[in-house]
Symmetry: C4
Subunit: 228 residues, 4 copies
Amino acid sequence: MAAAKEPGPPDGGLGMSETDRVKAFSDGVFAIVITLLVLELRVPEYHHGDLLAALGHEGPSYLAFVVSFAYIGVIWLNHHALLRLIRGTTLALNWINLGILFGAVIIPFPTAVLASAFAEGDTADQRAAVALYAASAALMSAPWLLFFGYLHRHPALLASGVDVAHARAQRARPITGLLLYGLAGLLGWFVDPVLGLVGIIVMIAYHALTSEGLRAGPLGRLVGGRRR
Amino acid sequence: MAAAKEPGPPDGGLGMSETDRVKAFSDGVFAIVITLLVLELRVPEYHHGDLLAALGHEGPSYLAFVVSFAYIGVIWLNHHALLRLIRGTTLALNWINLGILFGAVIIPFPTAVLASAFAEGDTADQRAAVALYAASAALMSAPWLLFFGYLHRHPALLASGVDVAHARAQRARPITGLLLYGLAGLLGWFVDPVLGLVGIIVMIAYHALTSEGLRAGPLGRLVGGRRR
Amino acid sequence: MAAAKEPGPPDGGLGMSETDRVKAFSDGVFAIVITLLVLELRVPEYHHGDLLAALGHEGPSYLAFVVSFAYIGVIWLNHHALLRLIRGTTLALNWINLGILFGAVIIPFPTAVLASAFAEGDTADQRAAVALYAASAALMSAPWLLFFGYLHRHPALLASGVDVAHARAQRARPITGLLLYGLAGLLGWFVDPVLGLVGIIVMIAYHALTSEGLRAGPLGRLVGGRRR
Amino acid sequence: MAAAKEPGPPDGGLGMSETDRVKAFSDGVFAIVITLLVLELRVPEYHHGDLLAALGHEGPSYLAFVVSFAYIGVIWLNHHALLRLIRGTTLALNWINLGILFGAVIIPFPTAVLASAFAEGDTADQRAAVALYAASAALMSAPWLLFFGYLHRHPALLASGVDVAHARAQRARPITGLLLYGLAGLLGWFVDPVLGLVGIIVMIAYHALTSEGLRAGPLGRLVGGRRR
């Protein structure tokens, strides 16, 4: 309806619509996923006087909770920066965004598997859990790649001040994610689960540090300075 | 309050109000439903070293999760397009919208029943589960039909650029849903549960492909081109 | 921040701020409560071939789900109309609003108790469950009464076109709720639980029918016609 | 995108962006956490006719629910006032805000531990639970301290009408929280768990009473009067 009142620049026949509801829906999904993680933190079974020891035994669950909270926080920051690149959305972009949200929504599951394997499983279980987590994270990169590819092919969607070269440059990050999460999974499966886990944490840190896109680089600084 | 400041066109005595809170509430409900699905994915019970096999055993749950995620995504896209048709809401439309949300909110339940029946039940259980799913999906079409019917009777609610013929044409889709989901349920109950399941998946794909309304058709292209 | 840019009319020293975040937070809470209800619908335990019978046995749960969904829908519609009365909020109103949300948030609990008592308990359990539900619903009316009382004492908060007499007239509804839910609870406890349950359902219908305030009455029509 | 259209005052090279999505995401998280608390309220196991007694036995859970609801309400009110201080956000502020949300998200867990310890545990369990709750609450103060410190170092982020002295004055509150929650935890651990619990409730009341910042004081009145 707002679109009817403020027409804005022509959309090149894309059938572009506002991003308001996409943002509201996405923020809702991220807010819920990051909050649902706490449901994994349960009061452990304990005998009288043993609560403290029982809580201590749940250490891996707490670590998994903190890592997943940070991870979803990182994805939200990345998504925040992603939607600032565009001035409108299309049916195709809405589907790609659903793919991005799918990746975020499933995080609690491989996280719970990971926590369970390190708390109660043996090495074979830990291999499987690390491989599952890495595979999920690698697949999660795919819709981001599609998003940047779509933007590259439809520059009319870019917000004013964002140029095509910037959108193209961003593709490096999901490609890195796809490859290195895959590598971490292979390491965890074939070499050592703890090594794979370290690889996963390094990758989350990488995405945290680059969450604003390539803003820190010379191109990013140029675009970022103008865009905001 | 905004309504008080920007009166807008007369509402023909409908007692029309803004759609902002309806959108926010609906987006919240969709975001929560699509995210709650992940709660169905639980770490399975497993013996040391058997995690991978235990995860493999949960295959039907994962499939049900993916189908339901896509289904709710499709409903959200349809709802997104639906609310772009109107420039305001009324008490009656708010009730009809609650009916639409009711349909979305219950999805996780027949989905869980379906996953359970195909993972653990026999053919009789699968018939019951497919029939329940199809009946839920068919009933879910009813409030959409009411919505389009209401719009048809109250053209003053249509957003500028959307005409009555367009609103009438949209009624074909929930009618199709009501009939074909019903048919899928009957097939699943009387003939074969797997056949019914295939019918359900075909219907979800149908709603996915027409989520932007009849925009792809000649009438839709006309309206869509002007509306956005 | 918007307030800093668009000062609006003076607030009479109330320390008034925008209602945007109150709406967003409240809509979020309502959306989550209405969606969480579905978590009460669980796949029942069943033997091979007994799924349909097991589902049938859960009838009271489904009825409780539908009633609670409608109830929270009614509260949302009432809240929607409530916040349209004001042009800003204060710290005191935010606290009263938290009280209103508290009433909405606890609904799933007495609902689950009610469903359990009618599915598995005896008459004594049903009395207790009906009394608990009615007491919750009666207490839920209290913050609405505070809200209308506060508006009456601070007419500077009223949106333009809403007059003091209208705000005073609305107080009749939470008072009715407080008294009649209390009566339903007493009937359910001392006379018959089913009678109390009928009283509760009648009250929900009453709030549904008056969700837009006294708009249908002569005063309401006057105000409603001007306000929207 | 709005930023591109309405440039606003220069941001001093901070890479500032709008606060809209931060507000929406934060409101979503608060709404979910405050609503998830109700999941802790479960229908107790009971024999025929014993529902009322079984409900009565759950007293500590209900008290924990009410205290936690009020606590998260207080944090939301504080957060509401916090974001009114700024006119834009940065990557660093977004991370600090995630830290604030982390503190809110974990509340249900120490709350559940507390309720369990007082319902089923012995004094040693209660000591552990009170110490855990107090430690969580004390740590929760840390990101608020970072927020005010960051604002103090980057006055360009302050909303118009908010001065540096005001931002500096607010730091007193998280420092008080850090120290006094720590003290309550030590009292609960070394002296008496009930004493620690009282200390926690006093602190929640303190944050409730000062939720609008130092507005009640002479400085706050000055700033508050101008700011809104």
